[in-house]
């Protein structure tokens, strides 16, 4: 089936003219039509636009052109503004919003010939680890458990990861603020890459926490992610935090191997509470790298345990300010009021869901007079210590290996009554976000219930190439061939 191809395989097939972009797109649109009612991975499906893009891609292919993503159907997280296509950020408040502009990352993908199937579901404003906070309903993980409970795909890029895992798209854009690429990739048994902060432009991506937000790809292979990131990345003068650096050949880096690399094992990531299968998978991963010629080194990231608490000050603080623009005046949903203040208060009370409101409240509180020093300023200092941990570790090793998440996917509805328990999902991913260093999750095994588990590779700032090299070696060694029960072509 065309939907079973990896992105690289599909690209090669198109170039060989084994099938057309129109056929490839139609196969994926069929999968979306068949599966989306059940998985709810897409908020908006732009089928007509996708078909038109596919036709255009076929014309270019016929003319001998070959853009890196020419004719390849992708899902776009509904946090990326897409010109003329509704962009909701998973929120009621943006439910009617049609951007008159295209984000830099998606514009780069279009430049390289990609076909956009539609906008993928997500936690509201990317705030969540379960996709339960979307105003457009939860996404179901295509993987299932023996007890039949519907599972979460993780979050916030849960729609993107579910769509890719279920073969509704060859790859998808995602964003990561504290783990929103790596954790759902792990939950859905696919690969995902959060590049270095500044590698992909944030221009046109609905902001959650500006100092942390970073776009990246999710796809079924590490190599597919490399191809996608090569298109997504690049300097953008419209983003003051965008890095003016050349984009390396990430796909080539996937073929480097790990011989001679020093791989660090941060001892603070280990705890008695860690499930045995995750500990075992971690050891297995280290063994694979050792077999590949890497040297394994114990390292210390002493402030690891403070990452989450730091994150839950910094991210809500920035979000409380970033989300002030949703006020019902210039775009989005408005709830009328007697006066302007009432209009604001009603618009925002009804437009934002419970988790977003909670985080805005926390963020407002930690920045408010009398609390700034105790919370926000202290968190920024701890953040400096977390960065120093990584800097020190990277003086000894080339990359780090850890589990991606402390568990496999959990059931929809679990952890909903305890925000802190939900936040703990990001315990392994948040420190790298705070430090801005690149990270990758690669599917490496199954838990006893048959659910996928990922391993996380972290690298030095702007050294995604080493991250890809390590990820590719793990991928080859793991030989992860398991398939989710719910997928295109699977018996219903």
């Amino acid at each position: 089936m065309l939907t079973d191809l990896s992105l690289v395989e599909a690209r090669d097939g198109l170039r060989r003219r084994a099938f057309s972009a129109a056929e490839l797109t139609e196969a994926h649109l069929d999968a979306v039509a068949a599966l989306n009612p059940r998985l709810n991975a897409f908020i908006t499906v732009s089928a007509d636009r996708a078909r038109a893009q596919a036709v255009a891609a076929d014309a270019k292919l016929a003319a001998g052109e070959s853009g890196p993503l020419l004719g390849l159907p992708l899902a776009i997280k509904d946090l990326f503004c897409t010109e003329g296509v509704r962009t909701t950020a998973g929120s009621r408040i943006l439910e009617p919003f049609v951007p008159p502009y295209e984000s830099t990352v998606t514009a780069n993908l279009l430049r390289d010939g990609a076909v956009f199937l539609g906008k993928a579901n997500l936690d509201e404003f990317a705030m969540g680890s379960s996709n339960m906070t979307s105003a457009f309903g939860p996404v179901q993980n295509p993987w299932t458990r023996a007890d039949g409970a519907a599972l979460v795909p993780g979050g916030s890029s849960g729609g993107s990861c579910a769509a890719v895992a279920a073969r509704m798209a060859l790859g998808a854009t995602a964003t990561d603020t504290g783990g929103s690429i790596r954790q759902p990739a792990s939950f859905c048994g696919i690969a995902g890459v959060k590049p270095t902060y500044g590698r992909c432009s944030r221009w046109g991506i609905v902001a959650f926490a500006s100092s942390l937000d970073q776009a990246g790809p999710v796809a079924r292979t590490v190599g597919d992610c490399a191809v996608m990131l090569g298109s997504m990345a690049g300097f953008d003068p419209r983003d003051s935090t965008s890095a003016d650096r050349p984009v390396p050949d990430f796909a080539a880096a996937c073929r480097r191997g790990v011989r001679g690399l020093r791989i660090g094992v941060p001892r603070e990531y280990r705890s008695d509470a860690m499930p045995a299968e995750i500990e075992a998978l971690w050891q297995q991963g280290l063994a694979w790298l050792r077999d590949g010629g890497a040297e394994i080194v114990d390292v210390s990231l002493p402030h690891t345990k403070y990452g989450l608490a730091t994150y839950y000050i910094v991210a809500p603080a920035e979000a409380s300010s970033n989300l002030a623009r949703y006020d019902g005046v210039r775009f989005g949903r408005r709830v009328e009021g007697e006066d302007l203040t009432e209009l604001y208060e009603r618009t925002r009370a009804e437009g934002f869901g419970a988790e977003v409101r909670r985080r805005i409240m926390i963020g407002t509180y930690v920045l408010s007079a009398g609390y700034y020093d105790a919370y926000y300023l202290r968190a920024q200092k701890v953040r400096a210590l977390i960065l120093r941990d990584f800097t020190d570790a990277y003086a000894q090793v080339d990359a780090l290996l850890t589990p991606t998440a402390p568990s496999a996917a959990f059931a929809q509805g679990d952890k909903m009554d305890d925000p802190v328990a939900m936040y703990l999902n990001d315990v392994f991913t948040v420190p790298a976000s705070m430090a801005g260093v690149p990270g990758l999750s690669v599917p490496a095994g199954l838990d006893p219930q048959g659910l996928p588990l990922g391993l996380q590779v972290l690298g030095r700032p702007f050294d995604e190439e080493t991250v890809f090299a390590v990820g590719a070696v793990l991928e080859r060694a793991a030989g992860f061939r398991h398939l989710p029960a719910i997928r295109a072509g699977a018996p219903a």
Binding site: A309, Y312, V329, R330, Y371, Q380
Partner: protein, 95 residues
């Protein structure tokens, strides 16, 4: 530092989010749970540490002073829930 419902209402007012009294009670509980958990940062010795504002470790680029944008009133106003001609419209503000 424990939040009471009155503080929650003050914060909600600052954030321009309407909360009714029952909600304020519930939010106070949830926020106290989160803030209590965050208190663990008090264990960290941060003496002499410079705060880190963001992950980008560079100085700011400056752009040239040229007019490259604007002149798109229809696009800027096109998503407005209420507009009056070339203006956005809101309930009358009394200063």
């Amino acid at each position: 530092m424990s939040l009471d419902p009155a503080t929650v209402r003050r914060i909600a007012r600052l954030a321009r989010i309407h909360v009714d009294p029952a909600e304020a009670e519930q939010l106070a509980g949830e926020m106290n749970g989160i803030l209590g958990w965050i208190e663990q940062l008090n264990e960290v010795d941060v003496d002499g540490i410079d705060p880190l504002t963001g992950a980008a470790q560079m100085a700011m680029r400056l752009r040239a002073d040229t007019v490259t944008d604007g002149g798109i009133p229809e696009l800027v106003l096109g998503n407005a829930p209420d507009r009056a001609g070339a203006f956005y419209a809101v309930p009358k503000v009394v200063e």
